[in-house]
Amino acid sequence: MSASKQQPGPATGSATGSPSTQGPIIRPYGDTTGDGMVQMSFTLPLPHDKKAEGAALQLARKMGLDPALLVHAKAMGPDFTFFVVYGSSTHLVNLDDVHVVEREYPLLSAKDANLTIKKQLRRKLVVVGACIGTDAHTVGIDAILNIKGFAGEKGLEYYREIRVVNLGAQVLVPELVARARAEKADAVLVSQVVTQKDAHIHNTTQMSAAFREAYPAGQVPILIAGGPRFEDGSESALGVDRIFGRGTTPGEVASYLVHEIGLRKGKKP
């Protein structure tokens, strides 16, 4: 970029500009340190004409691109126009202000999950899943368990080191407990979609209580509840180890299971 361009002070404090020497202030990098160059594409619901191009540039400026360069505009049918815009972002990011929430467990690939299970358990991890109570919505549990999976990720059935027992819908709690014992389940997944009169909460607490009653202390399988309406952080109130909400992928569940099994193994003498 031209030398006349406005330079943000702190980011270019170093003449060499190599990433290792930069301060906490960050701008995007096009081909020169500090140029702030970004590229973006978007569609406006306008026919392609001068006015639409002006609107695109104004949007880009409002998004902090200055100068903004409209490099491509193409009509998509009579009512829409597609734009590609390049420009220098006027925004700065201070790394000291960047806070990230780390998941307390790493996201593993199926292969790594399998390897870890094999190493830790030297047998397959047994997962029993069910929709309990009158809930017949197996969408959630099937998305996690069926090999077809969800969001492009294969379900737990796909994991070689996980044995899945999917009991399906409308399973009674005593039946679930009995089956979990018979299968020597390491983890129990219940799915609750229906929330009428807080059915999901009653069913889940009833389930966790039944497990604590049926198992000696410290040997209860990992209890997981899944559903779109559970409150974040209500694990202890429900008596379960983990809650997963809308959009959870099988990989997240598998990674959590591997992590939790590792913790439990570590705890035992």
Binding site: F82, D142, G152, E157
Partner: protein, 537 residues
């Protein structure tokens, strides 16, 4: 279209052997399909007889009626004989009233004998015949509209997906997609519909990552596409899904509402949805017989094999599945032009010669099934979120499609695995397809893989691995003495999934047919033969 040249120089004896093994594997399963019935087959039969609608809790009347008959006399004789006997006895004036009374337990069913049985069967044949005639009329309407508006001018036909969950949002999107160049619109179903043991009713406005398949949604979308076909001067086809626990019913509804293509795979439900194998094969045969009569093109689901296994190592499982799908389809009366056998571009782009292998596999499919409109499906597994790289990969996918004369091309989106495609993503994807087709579809004329070169050798290797696998399947046995294909499915021959014939969802909906089993739909479909060649397309 001209027939593609025999470019791979496959050994005809090996090809013949592959087909005869597929026939051998399928035969005992067909026998099972012909000696069982399911709740969904019986419900589909009632739907053909005109029973529609649902109670205030949205439980369809066909479910009520089949459940009531099953509880009182069982399903092994077929649902229609006791149902029409009840109508003849004056229990109700029509099927809907009968179903309503049955739902509240106010009607008793019996298995009539002698002249009463014959009378009930005659009445049932007449009732179900009305639905079959509706299907015939829909087929004739399609033929007429295709003649009037014309087929797409070039192949492959461009297949685009809409999936908002709301049929009233889907409609304008589908029409826009058709205007942008789509020849086929597929409405993706709501996640998990395949596991519902009933077909939802009415126009639906919410779904999970897709829109429910219902008779009313079918009708609305077909009518909308008829409008846009007229506007564009090209018949735009409509696709939905006949997989899962309600295959027969969805097939019947699709036939009556003039859908043009249906996803219908012989083993998808078993392997990927854990639906009971017997249930699947019984339902599948009925649904395919209905598709055959309706002039519907089926799309099979071989792409699924490659997303769960390595696309190089598992290449031959695609061929095996195609051969089995072909065999089951032919047995059910489908013709070659109705077989949209699936395959997909899913080899890891990081490995050397991945494109050459894709080309070899696609050519193999093309040459094994020269008269089938193969369905070519885009990369999904190796689409990473790097949309720029994904766009390039889709270009190479399109190139294989152009070079191997595919019939149906599912347009790849660079946003695969990222977001639901933007309007612009669809536009860019169609530009990609058009550029490659314009630039390279003539290559079929120039490009012949050299004798015994990499491509020919790879294709032969995949074919021979497919023959080996089929060999293993037909010689498979288990303790229960199941059909070899069922034994093979049970011990995990396909992918990683072990699916025993005694397990899976929907098994409780299967009944062994009794000697006096009667189903006028099946009788008519078994007796039906396709119209003379060239008469319809």
């Amino acid at each position: 279209m001209t027939r593609p040249h025999a470019m791979l120089e496959l050994d005809p004896a090996v090809v013949r052997r592959a087909r005869s093994l597929a026939r051998k594997a399928a035969a005992p399963v067909v026998t099972i399909a012909r000696s069982h019935t399911t709740v969904s087959v019986e419900r589909a039969t009632l739907r053909l007889a005109g029973l529609a609608g649902a109670d205030h809790e949205r439980v369809p009347w066909v479910n009520h009626l089949v459940t009531a008959v099953r509880d009182e006399v069982g399903l092994e004789h077929g649902v229609t004989t006791p149902v029409y006997d009840a109508l003849l006895r004056g229990e109700a004036p029509d099927l809907t009233t009968l179903a309503q009374k049955a739902a509240s337990g106010n009607v008793s069913f019996r298995l009539p004998t002698g002249r009463e049985a014959s009378a009930a069967r005659r009445a049932a044949t007449k009732g179900v015949g009305a639905g079959l005639r509706t299907i015939d009329r829909s087929r004739a309407t399609r033929d007429r509209l295709v003649k009037r508006h014309g087929d797409p001018r070039t192949k492959p036909w461009i297949y685009l997906i809409v999936a908002t969950g709301d049929i009233y949002e889907d409609i304008p999107q589908a029409q826009a997609a058709a205007r942008e160049g789509a020849d086929i619109i597929a409405v993706i179903r709501s996640t998990g519909q395949s596991l519902l043991d009933y077909v939802p009713e009415g126009a639906t406005r919410e779904g999970f990552a897709g829109t429910y398949a219902t008779q009313e949604n079918f009708r609305l979308m077909r009518a909308a596409l008829d409008d846009v076909s007229k506007e564009l001067g090209r018949y735009v086809r409509l696709t939905n899904y006949a997989s899962g626990l309600c295959m027969p019913e969805i097939a019947a509804l699709a036939g009556m509402e003039r859908l043009d293509m249906m996803l219908n795979d012989s083993m998808y439900g078993i392997l990927f949805r854990d639906i009971n194998p017997i249930r699947t094969f019984v339902d599948q045969r009925f649904s395919r017989q209905v598709h055959a009569r309706a002039g519907i093109i089926i799309n099979t689901g071989e792409d699924n094999y490659l997303t769960t296994a390595d696309a190089v190592e598992a290449a031959h499982t695609v061929t095996v599945s195609q051969l089995l799908n072909e065999r089951f389809a032919k047995e059910a009366g489908l013709e070659d032009w109705q077989l949209g056998l699936g395959h997909a571009f899913e080899i890891n782009p990081e490995i050397p010669d991945s494109f050459r292998m894709e080309l070899a596999h696609a050519m193999l499919a093309r040459q094994l099934f020269p008269d089938a409109p193969l369905k070519w499906m885009p990369p999904t597994k190796h689409m990473t979120g790097d949309v720029f790289r994904g766009y390039l990969l889709d270009g190479f996918f399109n190139l294989v499609g152009a070079m191997t004369g595919q019939g149906i091309l599912l347009v790849g989106m660079m946003t695969e695995a990222v977001v639901t495609p933007f309007l612009s993503d669809r536009d860019l994807a169609l530009q990609n397809v058009r550029y490659v087709m314009n630039a390279a579809s003539g290559l079929t004329e120039d490009f012949h893989p050299p004798r015994d070169g990499y491509i020919q050798t790879r294709a032969r290797q995949v074919l021979s691995e497919a023959v080996d696998l089929l060999d293993r399947i037909v010689s498979d046995t288990d303790a229960a003495g199941d059909a070899p294909l069922l034994a093979a499915i049970a011990d995990g021959t396909f992918g990683l999934m072990k699916r025993p014939a005694t397990g899976g969802k929907g098994l409780d909906g299967v009944s062994v047919r009794a000697d006096d089993y009667d189903n006028p739909a099946i009788t008519a479909l078994d007796a039906w033969t396709p119209p003379a060649k060239g008469a319809t397309r």
